[in-house]
């Protein structure tokens, strides 16, 4: 049985990826999250979908490097991961972060530092094992800073650069790092955008794009795929135009 690990398992995108994985074949899956109750209901759901899969729940603190170290050691003690997905995040309240630097630091930590530390620790163990696919969820928001969410965007930008660095370092090894950049998706994190925000993508479709991208060992997966074109344009817009845009 292949061994899968999901960090930030209560993420709706991650939950839908897990559904797709267990639908293909029984797997040994470890769900790592901060909230035990919510994670258990996800584990129950996956067990109904795939009674032959092994689903384990591990909880811990995601904001402290020592805790991250301990969590990763604990998970991988049971065996190397064939596939890991780092999915946690929080959509920061931009204007609150501009006023409250402590909140700002927490958001940068949970969206930026925490996922890259998990990525580093898991990648190292995959290198030792000589195999593995590591997916890290960044965001289209990480492609260019903009006024409405640059706290979140810059943390995701850090994830982008970190994943690039890992990809460079691990080229030629059996380990693949896939950087995933979802566009706005219909998840509880974006619930406030349902009524008057951008059109939101269906989370099951976003998950399907991610699962197939990781299977194909792609370096970068935009989900939905059209965001690769949209973000290419946005990245290349001259500043005098970009600065006039209210986005």
């Amino acid at each position: 049985m292949k061994r899968f690990v999901i960090i930030g398992a209560t993420s709706s995108i991650a939950e839908h990826c897990a559904r797709l994985w267990v639908a293909k074949a029984p797997i040994d899956l470890t769900l790592v999250a901060r909230n035990a109750v919510h994670t258990r209901s996800i584990a129950d759901d996956l067990k109904v979908r795939s009674p032959d899969s092994m689903v384990t729940v591990v909880t811990g603190d995601f904001e402290d490097p020592d805790s991250i170290r301990r969590l990763v050691d604990q998970i991988l003690k049971e065996g190397d991961a064939d596939c890991a997905l780092i999915a946690h995040g929080s959509l920061a309240d931009q204007s609150a972060c501009q006023q409250d630097l402590a909140l700002n630091a927490r958001e940068l930590n949970i969206n930026g530092i925490s996922p890259v530390l998990f990525a580093e620790a898991i990648a190292n163990s995959m290198v030792r094992a000589g195999r593995g696919t590591l997916g890290v969820i960044g965001s289209v928001a990480g492609d260019r800073g903009r006024k409405s969410n640059y706290v979140y965007g810059s943390a995701k930008g850090m994830v982008t650069r970190y994943a690039q660095g890992l990809q460079h370092r691990l080229a030629g090894t059996g380990v693949t790092v896939t950087l995933i950049k979802p566009g706005p998706t219909r998840t509880p994190m974006n619930a406030h955008l349902v009524d008057d925000g951008p059109p939101l993508a269906d989370v099951a479709k976003v998950a399907a794009t991610i699962v197939s991208g990781m299977e194909k060992r792609r370096n970068v997966v935009y989900a939905p795929r059209r965001w690769s074109v949209i973000m290419m344009i946005i990245r290349h817009l001259p500043r005098f135009i970009f600065n006039r845009m209210d986005i």
């Binding site: 759901d45 009674p51 349902v194 009524d195």
Partner: protein
């Protein structure tokens, strides 16, 4: 966000609240607010039972977790936003299926309970609610609780077929049934009168689990149609056939269903089905859900949308009523090719407002042509009322309140169970709140 029901008769902007398990103690329902809401699942009901003009809409798509499955008894516990499609797809491979399923699998479990849906096997298996063990209901005026046929039974009876008005259905325990195969052995017959239809129906009840018939609602001379009956095969390959997924890609400027196309289509359909007469074999998806193969098929009725009219009349007064209704429709030149005639059996449903009752049920689509369509409905209403029949709220966007009250004698028993924090377009129209 903008929401429509399947009939596409309106397209309004609603304030919405996505429901999810992560929201504890349902703070989404505020009893102190005068704003009322209704739960919206897949929007597959045809009229305004899932809409709430002037109010809020709760989206149930986030309540999509399966909680447990007992492989010995077949009991499945799941959240209300789970799709019937997901249940069928997941469990058919393990030899289980939903005991009752409507004509589309793109509906939620909560919606199936609230509308107490039925399928082609009503005469043998009853309604959806006949297979439910319990429902977890969240109310604005009391703590979340569980109701079942034995515990809080009056709440259970009000909630099954309760049009989503007795509280937010959060979780449901239902029984799946073991099946020998996901393939069906079918027999296709033709009939050329209602008497013949009636005879075939009667003959099929004993030995055939599923029965359904398509009727040509345009033929003035005689009531011809195609009768398809089926049973699960005793064995068969478990593989799902590869399906070509068609889609109506856009809303045509005019309804594609009109006087010109109707007769030609009905003629062509009748002849093509007649050729298939005899025994056959069908995958459950194409037999149960023929229209699911065409995504967004409701667009073919054009920008004005369409009405669905489904009625049931008791057997005694049924045949003359159905004959008179078909005559009205044929004379009017309206109607469509998606006309279904079948019988309901005598399995009683627990729901106070459940639609099915023993008798004949006829379902028809009508492109929305405004006044003349509504006038035709009033003429059919009179025939239904005369025959002591009723209309299906899940499909309705316009029935008069008197017809609703006459058709549903348990309405006054139902009303005390209403959740004061909930309302729908239909409740405002037919119950005054």
């Amino acid at each position: 966000m903008k929401l429509s029901s399947w009939g596409r008769l309106s397209d309004e902007h609603y304030p919405t609240t996505p429901l999810s398990r992560e929201i504890d103690n349902h703070p989404f329902i505020k009893s102190d607010s005068s704003e009322t809401a209704i739960v919206y699942g897949m929007g597959r009901s045809y009229g305004d039972v899932c809409l709430n003009p002037g109010g809020r809409v709760y989206l149930s798509s986030g309540l999509d977790r399966l909680c447990s499955f007992d492989a010995a008894s077949g009991e499945l516990i799941c959240e209300a936003g789970v799709l019937l499609k997901d249940i069928q797809t997941l469990f058919v491979a393990k030899g289980w299926m939903l005991p009752v399923t409507p004509g589309t699998q793109y509906v939620t479990v909560g919606g199936a309970v609230a509308n107490d849906v039925h399928g082609k096997n009503h005469h043998s298996h009853g309604c959806f609610s006949n297979h439910i063990n319990w429902i977890r209901l969240a109310r604005t005026d009391r703590e979340e609780f569980i109701c079942s046929p034995t515990k809080e039974a009056s709440w259970f009876n009000a909630t099954t077929g309760g049009l989503g008005l007795t509280g937010v259905i959060k979780e449901v325990s239902l029984n799946l049934r073991p099946v020998s195969s996901c393939w069906l052995d079918t027999e296709t017959l033709t009939y050329s009168s209602l008497a013949e239809f009636s005879q075939i129906s009667k003959d099929s009840e004993e030995d055939w689990e599923y029965t359904v018939s398509w009727i040509d609602c345009n033929s003035r001379k005689r009531n011809r149609g195609i009768f398809i009956r089926a049973n699960h095969s005793q064995s068969g390959a478990e593989s799902t056939p590869t399906k070509s997924r068609l889609r109506v890609p856009l809303v045509p400027p005019l309804s594609l269903v009109n006087r010109a196309t109707l007769t030609a289509f009905n003629q062509a359909y009748y002849l093509s089905q007649k050729q298939k007469s005899g025994m056959g074999r069908s995958h459950y998806q194409s037999y149960f859900y023929p229209l699911d193969g065409i995504l967004d098929w409701n667009r073919m009725y054009g920008p004005k949308g369409f009405y669905q009219y489904q009625l049931v009349v008791p057997y005694e007064s049924g045949m003359p009523a159905v004959k008179a209704i078909l005559h009205e429709i044929a004379v009017s030149g309206q109607g469509s090719f998606l006309s279904v005639l079948k019988t309901f059996g005598d399995v009683p449903s627990p729901g106070l407002l459940s639609f099915p009752m023993e008798g004949l049920t006829l379902a028809l689509d009508f492109p929305n042509r405004g006044k003349i369509t509504l006038q035709l409905f009033r003429r059919i209403d009179a025939i239904v009322a005369e025959a002591r029949g009723r209309l299906y709220p899940a499909k309705d966007a316009r029935m008069p309140a008197e017809l609703f009250a006459e058709g549903y004698p348990h309405l006054s028993e139902f009303l005390p169970y209403r959740d004061p924090g909930l309302s729908s377009g239909l409740s405002k129209r037919l119950m005054g709140w």
